[in-house]
Symmetry: C2
Subunit: 377 residues, 2 copies
């Protein structure tokens, strides 16, 4: 049973700070806090005008509350909607949003407010990064995936025919405002997809969090605030720490790509249809954990333990059925490729990851089958 | 008579450093140095692959020399051509270049080499800023305008229907490589357009340079290396100093927009046809200098002295004949607008500029005529 709203104000709000010198910003995590976002936007940006970018299902539920709060804080806002779904992250939508922002009078005293999941955050963030050579963006994530992952760290991007997020910019938000209550209306499948990134954070960096997830997964899935808020905070703190260490992904930040190499390839091969980003990541993590064992880098049982948690969270762990050659072609355009090697993230244990520069044939050896075991699927 | 090639190696190469912490880079200024660019690109970026972006007339003359030098330095390159002219700076070309770069195997070990004038530099710079969330760019400017202005400072951008450079990013180059010899083949009108930015630098910051231009303009127009190279260096140094003080245009850098407010409006009204950027800037400077006098900010005679030098350089000083209302509409989308005011750059004297937040009606009062004097031509 979902219940964030019920216990709302009994759980104290929490803050995580992302330290990036003069680009530092706070992540505010609370329950039932959407009506208080306006003054925080004003304080963080000094903006007088806002462009609110969202998708219809999210806007229907939450946009009016955000707009009212902005107005009360002296910020006029204009609402721009984009279609729901990953396929919205394209250059055509970017061009349309540039035009609509300018038509709405956007200038350097304007802020973009991204209200929605990862797609809205990435797209609106890229528009903010490149409109007038960059105006501020505030992320108001309403999906679990966006809360614990994409809204923090300043990565923005859109997809092109050759692959996912191959165009983008680093553009740190001025503020991330998380209201856990919005998870109440998140479809179960989207919630599971967000859990993939939560499990990822635990798998690469925090064995204690991994054990907590193994113990509390059912209460987390029921959105009990006393379980949810601290887990949201811990995840934001992990993401914030990694981003602070390595804003532009030269080193440690690459660990966050655990599961993403094959995950992105799977999404691209499915043409972003019928697969959520978090589902791709779950499949990719499962693959990467198996390869870590096969390469002798992780102890036996690592992949099974990871897969068991993913399955309990309702996530798929087997890659879609395309030939190896199709996957290799998809990997060949990976952003992380340098020369003929990919920085592939492997596990050394649950809670500890590292990157290895691997050739494509090492990531996926010629005779390796798509489905190595039957456990996961 | 043009003569950079003749006296080539007798003028020593010079270097200007742009100080921006870990984004610092050198501007190398020489004559006949195009064949030596490869090792410098390799040293500045560590790249193994290059995407050379240029326009046909420039590529015909110079691309093979650059490619040979890159190859000798161990860098494979792929040449991509875009049509010549300001109208090429559009989102359609950006999308086409993304695709062509990815098709050519661009990855994070690649560098974009922008060989050409301001259009190529802005467009290629924006592609580099946003492809794979940013890969290095080396600017090899072949027009005077690009050498003294657009190649230095990291501003990249494209035009949209509503105005010029309304989309873009700050993306500092890894190296700027200036070979003065390429000016030999620059059309006279383009050379004059570049002089507009040279005169602008002198007008806003360096009265001594202004006097030098008044004295040596004919030798500069004849491209005498002994006059050219030091003036190129002084201009790059002014630009570099302003950029180092204020990378993201919060304060001093705005002074570089002297003449650009009305200049951009004139270009937009002409739909970027039949007017060069430098010509727009010349008209805008003339207008801004007159307004500076009218507002009692600059001594009488300031505008006439500026206009006289512009006219000697072969530049237009009167704005195209559109109604005031059309100019005001064009100004309303200016990037530098905050709330209802524009940061308008005025002269206090030749060699000293400052910004004023002015309302549109102060920039262009209701009854002010388009052509106030007949001097300018």
């Amino acid at each position: 049973m979902r219940g964030v709203r019920g216990a709302a104000r009994s759980v104290a709000a929490r803050r995580v700070r992302v330290d990036l010198g003069d680009r530092s910003y706070p992540i505010e995590i609370g329950v039932g806090t959407l009506d208080a976002v306006g003054p925080a936007v004003a304080a963080a940006t000094g903006a007088r005008k806002a462009i609110l970018i969202s998708v219809p299902p999210v806007a229907r539920r939450y946009a009016a509350r955000v707009e009212r709060s902005l107005r009360d804080a002296g910020i006029r806002s204009k609402r721009l909607l984009v279609p729901d779904g990953e396929r919205t992250k394209n250059l055509g939508q970017v061009a349309r949003l540039y035009d609509a922002c300018l038509a709405a009078g956007a200038d350097r005293s304007s802020v973009v407010v991204a209200l929605g999941g990862g797609v809205v955050g990435d797209l609106a963030g890229f528009v903010a990064a490149t409109l007038l050579r960059g105006i501020p963006v505030v992320q108001v994530p309403t999906s679990l995936l966006a809360m614990v992952d994409s809204s923090v760290g300043g990565k923005t991007g859109v997809n092109v025919a050759r692959g996912k997020n191959l165009v983008g910019a680093f553009h740190q938000p001025s503020l991330v405002w998380i209201d856990g209550e919005t998870l109440d209306t998140l479809p179960t499948r989207q919630l599971a997809a967000g859990l993939a990134e939560v499990i990822k954070h635990a798998a690469i960096r925090d064995e204690r969090l991994f054990r907590r997830l193994e113990r509390d997964l059912d209460r987390l899935l029921a959105l009990e605030p006393r379980v949810c808020v601290p887990i949201l905070q811990r995840n934001c703190a992990i993401k914030a720490a990694v981003v602070s260490e390595d804003e532009r992904e030269a080193g440690p930040r690459m660990l966050l790509n655990f599961g993403h190499t094959l995950g992105h390839a799977a999404e691209a091969l499915k043409k972003f249809r019928g697969i959520l980003h978090g589902e791709g990541v779950a499949m990719g993590m499962s693959f990467a954990a198996e390869r870590s064992e096969e390469l002798g880098l992780a102890p036996a049982g690592t992949a099974n333990r990871l897969r068991a948690l993913l399955v309990r969270a309702g996530l798929p762990t087997d890659l879609p059925d395309f030939p190896r050659s199709a996957y290799l072609r998809a990997l060949a355009v990976d952003k992380k490729k340098r020369d003929d090697r990919l920085h592939f993230v492997v596990l050394r244990a649950i809670g500890r990851a590292e990157t290895r520069p691997l050739k494509l044939a090492e990531i996926w050896p010629p005779r390796r089958k798509l489905l190595r075991r039957g456990t996961g699927g």
